[in-house]
Symmetry: C2
Subunit: 601 residues, 2 copies
């Protein structure tokens, strides 16, 4: 299973990037002027190749041989480092970053597409690079020049790796309750004390050093999230000349053993428990990033990137599972069609069975819809970054804020559902570890949990994002979708029919949103069905993406474009109607679940 | 996790068995006259105790230490045999069987409830007993007295174990294509040659012998399913005095390594490949069960039992996951309620969050609805078995035929969804192997696949069952549900409102079914959306079960009965409306998925 053809569809990437999103048009912007379709394609080809050759071959091996905690060290299979080194050596980690830090200023949309190959091939190994890039981006945005020189450059060279340390054992989703404290020292540094839970890539020996970005509270600061600051806490202190210094007091307390994503170490880390005493003093040495008490806003800069990245990972896993089940359905023969009475007739490939096609078409609509959503977010980020006016930048920023919880959660829900269907198409074989799809399912199951659970995304969307700037968030989303509806109407024919259906659903979503926010009820009641809202909004946004894809097929009538149109039809006929009952409940401000008292269970 | 309280709710079993299904009333029937509520309760208590003490403690251990194929033998942890021996020693295997074979003539509905404890505690270990009982029941129904004496009695004593050998590597769902052949010998025995795939419990050393029930074709018989015969093929031949004789030529070719259900060996078996030559001749010795070429109908006798049993297993896994996530939600504190602005206020138990209650209430509605469905099937079987007239027996048989694909597939789909929600409530902890819920999910994922996939059940329901006897199958189901609707109306108030909603959905289902069967389209088009039909029919049947439970709460107003009513409300408000869009598509005989050509993917 190490051919790129079973990881992602390059044909589909080309369609979405060039026929739909006009990624090539970005090269007219100054930031991307050195690029062309050729450089984009070169990166896509390179990543596909490295993914197929270095990442995919050890995907199952990493699952079967998860990292082990031996004598205080983490042992893992050597293939992981080989794969990550290949990425660093190809200068891919900094691809989208500024030239001044050695980046190639590749558009985000192209980088997102390119990195999907790694996510599809081996999400567990790729996680180390994913976190390093996110960490570097955060420091580039909010760190000092010294922090950038000391920590970011070695990360981009692949010598250091990065983590994000937010959660604690008693505080998963609730960052207000973190208790890790950072005590200031006269020299301007801090000493950290506390425990961090669920830290991916928290300990390993893939490089020389690990750069932890840690949320902690400076004593005396405000309570809750307003008192959270952000610190760089390296595993090894770094001397002025860049060489490694003393071991810092960040110590692995244990590994979490997971259902999937097993190649990624997931750790409990102790800070400042006295195992090491750098400089002869207690505590883990930390360096404040930016201003005190602003840590959460910095982290959310990275968090939005990470959340879309989670959606991208979910999409990639869904996509490769879809392709593998498609391959299986085309080659596996079994049974006969209804009405074929002759038992001596040969069995048919299972793709001939309507129910198998249903499962394939559902997967196609989920994974290609999710891919469109993820790439769109990349494109919007490129447009925001190169916007010509502050107003345009603000509009794009708002749109991305509204789309982020959907881009995180919709693929996490529906590409997981795609993986479930991929198992089902494989039948008993899909339930065995001899085939890939069961691992994809297990790996993907993390995505509705980490970087903010499904429920947290729902509260974010309904409680904050659509209400932002006096409803401007919702208005920006509506305007985006109305553009597609207008275009569908102008195209006419079947596109106009889809546009009408989308118009009806969108009009209802907007009305329901306003009704919820203007209702004279408690915040708890208003948000009681936030998850339903998230799901309905997600399906409506993805219906729009399918309308856009339908229109983008133009008059082309080959198999690829017919398939795109059929998947769009499927989404409008089988998926979009699911939002009806959800919006009914939201409209009523139904409190059935909210009213269920704890004692009644 | 080895207290019965986290496996199943005895309170709920009592409610369903006694308040709803009037299991006690069965004791007025001759077959069950030796029983009373006391004997029923005694069995339930005993099974709960053995399940908690002998099965639950090694559930995770069996998952982490799956059976291994070493030097042609299967090695597994000793706990499995200890647990199974405890069941046999308590004479539980024959509990529902006739007195003449040593059974206790316990009603099936009580046995189903009692065995749920084992399924909830450790489905992988219980599978050995489950298969043995199913095997024994089949031989009791269709085997000769000699076969019963030779094979069934030792199985019921726990000395022999049983399997079902249907699938082959090239023929999973399509039994017409099996190629294992059974060649007759002059002494009336047969010699079998072929390979069987996915054989659970196909090899192990839990007892003295393994009794395989094998589907094979006698050369010269009809093609397809009409040429399938059933054979007993023991691992060791049995001498006339009951002692073990020669090793038969049934040989383990390999173990399948699964996503879950890891404690159950799942095997590829070779028959007659010449590893052993019993009696100096090639082939595995087999004994014909019943008449030649009638094997499939005999197997379906067992298959219906096994399918409801799969639904029961899915229900049990869903139920224990629900209870564990409920326990977690009551004890884990995290975050504050919307509107609670003071970050210094203490975090609340997560059950206080509306979205967590939504996930709990959804689980409750799935697992308690599924439990009702499974117990109902047991009760109907008891009524069928003791019916006073052939007409009544035929009606009950028809009803069970229609309910079987739903009882197999609905719990497999929705109790799996419950396990998914149980993981989600646990957050990151639920994704680790330190908690039980991820294993329950993995174990449960088998259920939509084995004993006839979801798609096969769908074809069975729409293509055969509801059309049976000129529509009498559908009519029997409708009559059952209309009884509940009438009762709901007679109860009045909220029950009457639920009854109206169910009436509308049922009326529509019946009309859609008739429209599908009378449409002038090909069988392939008629069945193209069979899976949607199965899902819509399942939700409507379970809505009826919730209406029945609502009515059965009467005027009792304690927490337990309030919870029941709230779960019924949830099901009617959040779940039943899902059937609307499904019935829309079925009504239109939508062909979107059917029309998708293989080349379009």
């Amino acid at each position: 299973m190490s051919t790129p053809d079973l990881l992602l569809s390059r044909r589909d990437l080309d369609f979405l990037l060039y026929d739909w999103l006009d990624a090539e048009g970005l090269t007219r912007r100054k930031r991307f002027a050195a690029h062309s379709r050729e450089t984009f394609d070169g990166i896509l080809d390179l990543c596909a190749e490295i993914a197929a050759e270095r990442f995919a071959p050890h995907n199952r091996k990493a699952d079967l041989n998860e990292p082990r905690f031996v004598d205080g060290r983490v042992e893992m299979i050597a293939d992981v480092k080989d794969a990550l080194d290949a990425v660093a050596q190809a200068d891919l980690l900094s691809a989208a970053m500024d030239e001044e830090v050695g980046g190639a200023q590749l558009p985000q949309v192209v980088q997102t597409a390119a990195f999907l190959w790694f996510q599809a091939a081996n999400i567990g190994s790729w996680a180390y690079a994913f976190l390093t890039v996110a960490n570097a981006n955060l420091l580039l945005a909010h760190g000092s020049q010294e922090q950038i020189d000391t920590f970011v450059r070695p990360m981009l060279e692949g010598r250091f790796h990065g983590t994000m340390c937010l959660s604690e054992p008693q505080a998963g989703s609730s960052l207000a309750d973190i208790t890790t404290r950072a005590e200031p020292r006269p020299d301007g540094t801090y000493r950290l004390f506390g425990n961090k839970m669920w830290i991916s890539a928290g300990e390993h020996e893939l490089g020389e050093n690990i750069v932890h970005l840690v949320l902690a509270k400076i004593p005396g600061g405000p309570a809750g999230v307003k008192g959270i600051s952000l610190f760089v806490v390296p595993k090894f202190l770094v001397n002025a000349d860049g060489s490694l210094g003393e071991r810092n007091d960040v110590v692995l307390a244990g590994l979490n053993h997971k259902m999937g994503y097993r190649g990624t170490t997931n750790t409990l880390l102790n800070f400042g428990e006295g195992v090491h005493t750098p400089g002869g003093e207690p505590g883990a040495v930390g360096y404040l990033v930016g201003e005190p008490h602003r840590g959460l806003s910095y982290m959310f800069h990275m968090m939005n990137e990470a959340r879309v990245g989670v959606g991208a990972g979910a999409t990639a896993l869904g996509y490769t599972g879809y392709l593998k089940s498609l391959d299986y359905a085309r080659t596996r023969t079994q049974g006969r069609l209804p009405g074929a009475k002759d038992p001596a007739s040969p069995p048919v490939p299972i793709i001939e069975h309507a129910d198998v096609r249903r499962m394939l078409l559902a997967q196609k609509s989920y994974v290609e819809g999710a891919l469109g959503l993820i790439l769109l977010c990349g494109k919007l980020l490129d447009e925001e970054r190169t916007a010509e006016s502050p107003e345009e930048r603000a509009r794009l920023n708002l749109l991305l804020e509204v789309l982020t919880p959907i881009a995180k959660s919709w693929p996490s829900q529906w590409c997981l559902a795609a993986n479930d269907l991929a198992i089902q198409i494989h039948g008993g074989y899909g339930y065995t570890r001899e085939f890939d799809v069961e691992q994809h399912y297990r790996d993907n199951r993390l995505n509705p949990i980490h970087e903010g659970t499904h429920g947290i995304q729902a509260l974010d969307l309904l409680g904050r994002k659509v209400a932002m700037a006096d409803g401007a968030g919702l208005a920006a989303l509506e305007a985006l979708l109305r553009g597609g509806i207008d275009q569908g109407r102008a195209t006419g024919g079947e596109a106009a029919e889809l546009a009408e259906a989308l118009d009806a659903a969108l009009t209802r979503l907007v009305a329901v949103t306003r009704a919820i926010h203007s209702a004279d009820v408690s915040p708890a009641v208003r948000l009681a069905n936030a998850s339903l809202y998230l799901e309905a909004a997600g399906h409506i946004v993805v219906a729009w993406i399918w309308l856009e894809q339908f229109v983008a097929t133009g008059s082309r009538d080959d198999d690829f474009h017919r398939g795109k149109r059929q998947a769009a039809r499927y989404f409008f006929r089988y998926e979009l109607p699911r939002t009806g009952p959800q919006l009914d409940l939201l409209e009523k401000l139904d409190t059935t679940t909210y009213d269920a008292e704890p004692g009644w269970f």
